[in-house]
């Protein structure tokens, strides 16, 4: 009982964190139909800065890391990413009113990773002084790309079967390159490479890192506004999407938390790392995922998958998921 109360109080405290507060603030602004707009150029720049910061730090840290330590978490990332899509597609497509290709695209988006959710978690861990291996955020593509690939392959198999005869083979390589070329992964990987091979410490410490938290608050505000605005997309599709979008992030996060815990026991993976793994699994892609899926699974209805992800999935992943995993870690690892 005390444990639960303790858990709840820890949970609530985190709601005052700037990342969450700005997210909720953005939703309120949109709900009150405020005319405040964050210009698109600013939003894109915030995203770039965040991914560059995550990439640079990852690159700088991987230099000194034992590559072997990364192996198990990386495998978990790949497995979780694929599993979310496979299981999600199966479950969702059985639900009444849900088209199979929409189900696949939606679970693809939930299997992929949101850089801004990840950044919010990193900032909140810092606030709580929970440490993690600095290369953990660099596991992002290990979960993101496989999830998108599985979704696109599944959708193609499904569509091919529907049309019979037309057995258009799905080529995996173009999906990978198109993911890597997306603005989010490009920025992250460029940051990683610069961190690994050059000496960017001076701009990292004087620019990318100090602006990180502030720009994240602007980003969260924007995402809150967008989440509310896109809610009516969700009204156009079956109610089951809202149900899936509410629970899937937490289920995914908890599964990844469990597997992360195994890695903790086996290889000493840090509690902070376990939390971030859960956050990645619980997040759903907001920047690169949607256009990738839109181009690769044209028949899927974007109102279904973007509505689910942006309006419900992401707010739940950030506002419920992150505090949940942190509180859980505090209980489990006695932080």
């Amino acid at each position: 009982m005390e444990l639960i109360l303790d858990f709840l109080s820890r949970f609530l405290v985190q709601f005052q964190s700037p990342a969450l507060a700005f997210l909720v603030g953005g939703m309120l602004l949109a709900a009150f139909r405020s005319k405040l707009e964050i210009p698109d150029a600013i939003y894109q720049f915030c995203v770039f800065m965040l991914l560059m910061r995550i990439g640079l730090e990852g690159g700088l840290e991987i230099r000194d890391a034992e590559l072997a330590d990364m192996l198990l978490p990386a495998i978990i990332a790949v497995v979780v990413g694929c599993a979310i899509v496979l299981v999600g597609s199966l479950v969702l497509s059985r639900l009444p009113g849900v088209k199979t290709d929409d189900a696949i695209a939606t679970s693809g988006l939930f299997g992929a990773v949101s850089a801004s959710t990840l950044a919010a978690a990193m900032v909140m861990l810092e606030e709580q002084a929970v440490t993690f291996e600095a290369w953990v955020p660099a596991l992002y593509p290990f979960m993101d790309i496989p999830a998108l690939i599985v979704a696109i392959v599944l959708a193609n198999l499904y569509l091919a079967r529907k049309k019979e005869g037309a057995k258009a083979k799905t080529r995996i390589w173009p999906i990978i390159t198109s993911s890597l070329r997306g603005s989010a992964l490009s920025a992250l990987l460029l940051g990683l490479a610069l961190g690994l091979f050059t000496r960017p410490e001076i701009v990292y410490e004087g620019f990318y890192d100090p602006l990180f938290r502030g720009l994240l608050s602007v980003l969260m505000l924007t995402m809150g506004m967008e989440a509310y605005t896109r809610l009516n997309e969700l009204r156009k599709v079956a109610h089951w999407y809202a149900v899936y979008a509410t629970f899937a992030p937490l289920v995914h996060g908890l599964i990844a938390f469990g597997l992360g815990y195994v890695a903790h026991v086996l290889t000493g993976f840090s509690p902070g790392g376990v939390i971030l793994l859960a956050v990645m699994a619980g997040s759903s892609s907001d920047i690169s995922g949607p256009p990738t899926l839109r181009a690769a699974i044209p028949s899927a209805n974007p109102s279904a998958y973007i509505g689910s992800s942006t309006s419900v999935g992401t707010p739940v992943a950030i506002a419920v998921g992150i505090p949940l995993y942190v509180a859980l870690a505090q209980a489990v690892f006695g932080l």
Partner: protein, 104 residues
Amino acid sequence: MTFKAAKVVIITEKVILEQVAQIIEAMGATGYTVFAAGGKGSRGVRAAGRAAVVDGFSNVQIEVITATHDTAEKIAVEVADRFFQNYSGITYLEDVEILRSHKF
């Protein structure tokens, strides 16, 4: 002196701009012009300029001048057939007059 020519206008999602451009070039047009646009249609509102967390879903308007009405219509039909079942968009044609000095 001016000569008759045609213009085809395509309004659709930014995410397929490259593919539409390929069709336009394949049909032999000498060029095209692209504008950022917002709008409202059967598939909801699309803003432009405002931060879009989900990129690639704002509208573009693509205009192509072609020498013959026929080419314009072919482009319109091909784009509509290939994309407008899955992507939101409309297309229409206009008559225009070009100067002698230009070749389209």
